[in-house]
């Protein structure tokens, strides 16, 4: 145990090293979240992470065993694609023209916010199937013109993020936590930050891996506007205990009107 690396000063840990640690998969917990946040906001860091990914990629050639995944894997993928596109393609609840208009609008949100397809499909289903949300074909499309608002809360790169969509029709909010997986120890709680500096209002615990629709309490609706800030905190299972401070903020975002 006397290789040269044993001696000398503490190894420096600059951004390129952190990016390398992340690319190797060494980062955990807070450090991992911090790296993901930096990736989203610091182009140099993002470039360096991809630089390492690219250099390490040849090693994956040595990982590939001659192993065939089960046939159900493709069946599952195909089923998930069908479910997602199926909802978007098959609404018959309203007149054709309206559905087309809704689809076009949804497409714009998706582009505007990079909304995940699953969240968009659920949003469309809600708009089309929820009688409160869509008026009869012969009414003026005044209500429907009330623009939804979208917030994207990135908490990672590939898929790890929340898409929050507020639909004024019916005062519903969609929270899509597609990329999140439960760790069995923590839950994540979503908060709306009021402009007047008063305490953040809880929007509830996020359901990992799911798209959930919730009714928005009137006191929250009153605070909602273009630019409203959202915070995501890490809490014990079940959300923030009534007698405790909120946990650390792990991600944030803001609503934009689309």
């Amino acid at each position: 145990m006397s290789a040269p690396e044993d001696t000398g000063p503490e190894a420096t840990r600059d951004d390129p090293v952190i990016a390398a640690e992340w690319a190797l998969g060494l980062l955990e917990g807070e450090e991992l979240l911090a790296a993901r946040g930096k990736y989203a906001t610091d182009p140099d860091f993002a470039w360096r992470k991809e630089w390492w990914d690219n250099w390490f990629a040849p090693w994956t050639d040595d990982m590939a065993g001659a192993v065939e995944p089960g046939a159900h894997v493709w069946d599952g993928i195909a089923a998930r694609l069908t479910t997602q596109t199926g909802i978007a393609n098959a609404p018959n609840a309203t007149s054709g023209g309206e559905v087309v208009a809704l689809k076009a609008r949804l497409r714009r949100w998706q582009w505007a916010a990079g909304l995940t397809s699953a969240a968009a499909a659920v949003a469309l289903a809600l708009l089309v199937l929820n009688p409160a949300g869509v008026q009869a074909p012969n009414t003026q499309p005044a209500q429907i013109a009330a623009a939804p608002m979208i917030a994207t809360v990135p908490i990672g790169e590939t898929g790890l993020r929340l898409d929050v969509t507020y639909i004024p029709e019916g005062e519903r909010m969609l929270i899509a936590a597609i990329g999140l997986a439960p760790d069995g120890v923590h839950d994540h709680e979503l908060w709306l930050v009021p402009d007047d500096g008063s305490a953040a209002k809880s929007l509830g615990v996020v359901a990992p891996g799911e798209v959930r629709s919730m009714e928005v309490p009137a006191e929250v609706v009153a605070e909602l506007h273009d630019g409203s800030r959202l915070l995501l905190t890490r809490e014990p299972l079940g959300g923030k205990p009534a007698d405790a401070e909120a946990g650390p903020v792990v991600a944030e975002g803001a609503f934009i009107r689309v």
Binding site: E5, E21, G25, M63, I77, D183
Partner: protein, 201 residues
């Protein structure tokens, strides 16, 4: 058997042809062509499954991760930048990162996979060997990692191949956590210097 029928027999393409076919399918997927996904799956599933299985060490978890990879790919095909990486290099990284995410957020144990986990392959299926990541690049990273001392090299590779954390590596090597971090961070500094030197004209 269904998988074998689905992945119909065809002559094994050369590496260049396989790359070109994959590049083409990725471009069509980014334009919203859903059928391209099945082609990509057919071409890459063995390699990507090898990666998720190696990292997660559990067949069912690895198959779930593989499903996520392709569904996510379909949703986010436009994230791939052909100027930055070859398609297979990007897909392999994508699959490994997803598997690592799963390992870190879930309760999967991870680690090496027993040989009994391996299902036999139909003869015509493994295109994986035709879809190697760029050979020149592979030679360079190999050359640079070889400049590190053997111990550092072994730990860095173990992190990549088995998804070990610093704590796991330190425990296995029976050294303090701080020591393991220092070894690896110094190794990464040197690795970076070597790789950057190779990029200069």
């Amino acid at each position: 058997m269904r998988a074998q029928l689905l992945m119909a027999a065809r002559p094994r393409p050369s590496s260049d042809e396989a790359r070109e076919a994959l590049r083409d399918a990725m471009a069509r997927l980014a334009e919203g062509d859903q059928t391209a996904l099945e082609e990509i799956y057919r071409m890459t599933r063995v390699k990507l499954f090898g990666i998720t299985l190696r990292i997660l060490g559990d067949r069912k978890e690895a198959e779930d991760a593989l499903q996520d990879v392709y569904v996510n790919l379909w949703q986010r095909a436009d994230r791939y930048d052909p100027a930055r990486a070859s398609p297979i290099s990007w897909l392999a990284t994508f699959a490994r990162n997803r598997a690592i995410d799963r390992l870190r957020t879930g309760k999967v144990r991870g680690g090496a996979v027993g040989i009994e986990e391996a299902a036999p392959l139909p003869d015509e299926a493994p295109l994986a060997d035709a879809l190697l990541v760029d050979a020149e690049q592979a030679a360079q990273i190999h050359k640079c990692i070889e400049t590190l001392d053997e111990r550092t090299r072994t730990h860095i590779r173990a992190a990549f191949f088995d998804g070990y954390t610093y704590a796991q590596l330190a425990e296995q090597a029976d050294v303090p956590l701080g020591t393991m971090k220092s070894w690896i961070r110094r190794g990464l500094q040197r690795l970076r210097a070597c790789l950057e030197a190779s990029e200069r004209p």
